[in-house]
Symmetry: C2
Subunit: 347 residues, 2 copies
């Protein structure tokens, strides 16, 4: 007698994911929509709610809307664009390199091309740092372009950025006068190591600790002697915080006093490399209750010479050019909001 | 014809490891002696060269020598002892727990027993945090002992310390009034995750970045709501640096403003938990070129109420009670060098 067959692996699917969500309580229901701490969302909202373009596209996708909402009201002379390709988390370096190249071609055609008659937009060459030789070629490909002003990669990585495997990237950056911008967002994702003693639980914890990778990368750049090996190479630390900078340098300078014999290629006090080689963007600016602590910290890090304003438009943790800083000395304000970037990017 | 046999795996050994070292150049030769960045050495020297006891034993092993060199000259009323069992890096929790227990028994017999007629020495209960239930039992075992004043563990870990698996430890600490001291030294070793985006290359880099694990653990304690769940629980961060504390709290407070909905069990601003629940020891004190920056940082972190002096005797990066700090306001100095520890440890 034929009793039929038993299939031991069949996959049912909801007609819409909301069917599943209808069985969840808040706040899990809302968080599941945001993608948890996945690539494309956070438990609150990834972008400013008011940054949705009138044409219905994603936030930051409409150049005219962006000009109206951000460029004109704040008198932004140049916006340094950092598209988010998320290619640095992928195990396949060929795929990652292809994604990076596509973002660069797209950027050249649109934001740095047809969207950019007045040259207000300046772009970043996305690279896949998993394959430094391919990344160096991608940098070559854009050398001399009038609107690409820097190379960019993610702080998420499998090894600190001072290490030797990355040097083809730095050599290409130095040769073509491109600073390397490092931006957070793929830390602990895909192939990248989470820079904490184990994986954080919540988005607030993960997001707060994004600054840790920057601290580790900076110590690595300096102690490995990258700035001695590539004297024209410059690094821009974007959205990694900045207030930790002076105290980390006090710590590293003290270690150097005792341990310099281990790293004889480090010729100067670690903190001395900052002014010549490192710039830090301002957002998210750490704001204590009392302005005097922030002003003291800005002075201690020589913000007047190394900090550059950034807003992170259109993301949720946007810093307004008008509201973010307390009253600054005139020279410091001018250098942070204009001169330091003009000099670095030769604008 | 018997041609004999060929053995394809035979191990030759030098008669002494110096035979191998005679083929190395400096500085590798010296570093190989120190154990590289292994457990028991650093490329310079693990202990003060002048801390070798006259009886020839290891530094820190002779109570009379320690009294003569450190306790008497600096008028130390109590020395809080933190033995280094290195048990938190072992994959076998039973072995790790046995090592921890042995260190506690030894401590009770010697430094807190026969070496301690005047009670100057106060001890730390070593635990293996890989096995929180066994650790809680070990804490129970010493409850009521007159000279154990805290529990201690390493900052090296496989998960941030706010996470739930550790709660039996915190419950036991709270029940018996023991603060939990966290001390660096096994980060990235054995089973422990290295709190950087990949492994650092040099000792100076690894050692500088020891503060990163403390930053991650502190954020985890607060965002997971440990101090709400265990209102009597206190944490002492030992040798993890301190100057990063205010700026990390500015950052976390700002994140909390936007993301508090994700962690509704965090009832107060993150930074507000410090005064009630967290103490930080002073060594290695970050010293900038200008004292005003340090004084500002001490004020910003409320060092007067949360910092406790520590020397790290007999290690190479010892901070002298006389030389380490700039001139402090009298009340702050008294609280850092005495009162904060007296209150915490009920001395």
């Amino acid at each position: 007698m034929n009793k039929g067959i038993i299939d031991c692996d069949v996959h049912p699917m909801p007609q819409h994911i909301d069917e599943i969500r209808s069985y969840m309580q808040m706040p899990w229901k809302e968080r599941h929509k945001g993608g948890g701490r996945g690539l494309f969302g956070n438990p609150v909202h990834g972008a400013r709610l008011d940054a949705k373009p009138t044409n219905g596209g994603p936030e930051g996708s409409d150049p005219e809307f962006l000009r109206e909402q951000h460029i004109k009201p704040f008198n932004v002379a140049h916006a340094i664009l950092l598209p988010r390709a998320f290619c640095n988390l992928h195990p396949d370096p060929d795929f990652a390199t292809a994604v990076a190249a596509a973002y660069n071609d797209w950027q050249a055609d649109t934001w740095l091309g047809s969207y950019n008659p007045d040259g207000v937009f300046k772009g970043s060459i996305t690279i896949a740092h998993q394959d430094p030789l391919a990344a160096a070629k991608e940098i070559e490909r854009w050398a001399g372009h009038p609107h690409f002003v820097q190379v960019m990669t993610d702080s998420g990585a499998r090894a600190p950025f001072g290490q030797r495997q990355y040097y083809p990237i730095y050599e290409a950056c130095e040769r073509h006068g491109f600073p390397l911008a490092i931006h957070p967002g793929t830390d602990g994702m895909g192939i990248n190591i989470q820079p904490s003693p184990g994986y954080p639980t919540h988005y607030i914890e993960w997001h707060t600790c994004l600054s840790l990778a920057f601290q580790a990368h900076l110590v690595s750049f300096i102690t490995e002697g990258v700035f001695e090996r590539f004297p024209g190479f410059k690094v821009v630390m974007v959205e990694g915080g900045s207030a930790w900078l002076p105290t980390l340098m006090w710590r590293l300078d003290a270690e150097y006093k005792a341990l310099r014999y281990e790293v004889p290629w480090v010729k100067r006090r670690p903190s001395e490399y900052l002014r010549d080689h490192v710039r830090v963007t301002s957002q998210p600016l750490e704001r204590p209750d009392q302005d005097k602590y922030l002003l003291n910290t800005l002075e201690a890090m020589d913000a007047e010479n190394i900090m550059m304003f950034s807003s992170d438009y259109p993301h949720w943790d946007f810093d307004s050019p008008k509201l973010t800083f307390p009253k600054l000395p005139e020279t410091m304000r001018n250098r942070i909001f204009y001169e330091n970037a003009r000099e670095l990017y030769k604008l």
